[in-house]
Amino acid sequence: MIRLQHNVVHRPRTIDDACTLLAEYGPSAQLLAGGTDIMVLLNAGLLQADVFIDLWPLDELRGIDDLPDSLRIGALTTFSQILRSPAVERFAPALAAAARTIGAAQIQNRGTIGGNIANASPAADSLPVLSCLDADIELASVRSRRRVSIHSFHTGYRKTALAADEMIVAVHLPKTRTDERIEFYKVGTRRAQAISKVVLGARMQIAGGIVEHIALAYGSVAPTVVRARAAEAILLGQYPSPELASRAVAALDRDLKPITDLRSSAAYRRRVAGNLLERFLRKALQH
């Protein structure tokens, strides 16, 4: 039996109360959502905290609102709730696809989108989708409510723009248009329970034969999720062709900084990142 240290657990019932607690304790408090990252660390003795603020009872943080131009997904919404949501299936199917690959049923039933974003792992599977959709993260503290673009939220390896007294309350996803092609690809060791080796969230719109809009967001190939800006620049405004696709794949050298670790080698990751882009472009052009 593992004896976790004796600690204080606060269980606020409103966002305001949670923010007040955060302001009081600052960095010494540890927010707890579904626990699927935190409990692993606690069980392994890798995390010390005297005070926990347990968000789980905070129903205000749960749910998916179907707004005119966007979906607002509460931070405490689980991946199971996301993948069962008709609104997500209709307006952000790539997020449902990502949710389906996270862990297995036990993890999806407990793991939350807010936890995935805040945990800031380079391999977090929801992040490439949020990045290619240009999502905003809504934050709250006793001082203010603010919205930060996903592109500036992750500031470095496991670093975020969250202040010590701030929490994530929701994610705002602009609805995707029906003439856009959006895909989520994840490559891991096996289908379930696998941490990603390479992930791609990709979005493209073709108008009048040319690439009108393109967004390529990779996970697990840099310290944070990254947009492949060089590859995007090559594709934007051009008539797609196999030759153009090859140039975009080559440009990934400038965009990605894959490393060799336990899960995979840098060379493998770079090769797979290119293959996924080729696959996406081939598929997108068939439509």
């Binding site: 593992i2 004896r3 626990g35 409990m39 069980n43 347990d54 049923a105 036990q106």
Partner: protein, 142 residues
């Protein structure tokens, strides 16, 4: 902050729920909380305040094994038995939500439960037998 797993095993003396990895990977500690299967090694016990928790001990009714349990016996879906309580809970949660799953849905439902003995085929067959009515369905016995 105690883990639900320890409260079940140590405080409630419900030792049917097993600990394999203690890090969410193996599913041996699977229990059902408010209808959804979860890993009890990853749940701080405060988070089940006001919830209903079902462990493998809760499947049998009046000393009668549930159809799922009988199917596991009949089909040889358990060998060493360490994964079995967790497998049963994942399968039970699936059948509550989807009484007639296709094979892929069964595979997905037990993807978070590792078994080192059976090779999974007999487990899949046992669950399929319950859903196709070759063994009585869970709701008929409950």
């Amino acid at each position: 902050m105690k883990r639900l797993l320890d409260v079940l095993r140590e405080d409630c003396r419900l030792t049917g729920t097993k600990e394999g990895c203690g890090e969410g990977e193996c599913g041996a500690c699977s229990v059902i909380v408010d209808g959804e299967v979860v890993n009890s090694c990853l749940i701080p016990v405060c988070q089940v305040e006001g919830s209903s928790v079902t462990t493998v001990e809760g499947l049998a009714l009046n000393d009668q094994l549930s159809p799922l349990q009988r199917a596991f016996l009949e089909y040889g879906a358990a060998q060493c038995g360490i994964c079995t309580p967790g497998m049963l809970m994942s399968a039970h949660a699936l059948l509550l939500r989807r009484p007639h799953p296709i094979r892929n849905q069964i595979l997905e439902a037990i993807a978070g439960n590792l078994c080192r003995c059976t090779g999974y085929t007999k487990i899949l067959d046992a669950i399929a037998a319950v859903s196709s009515g070759n063994i009585n369905k869970p709701d008929q016995s409950e």
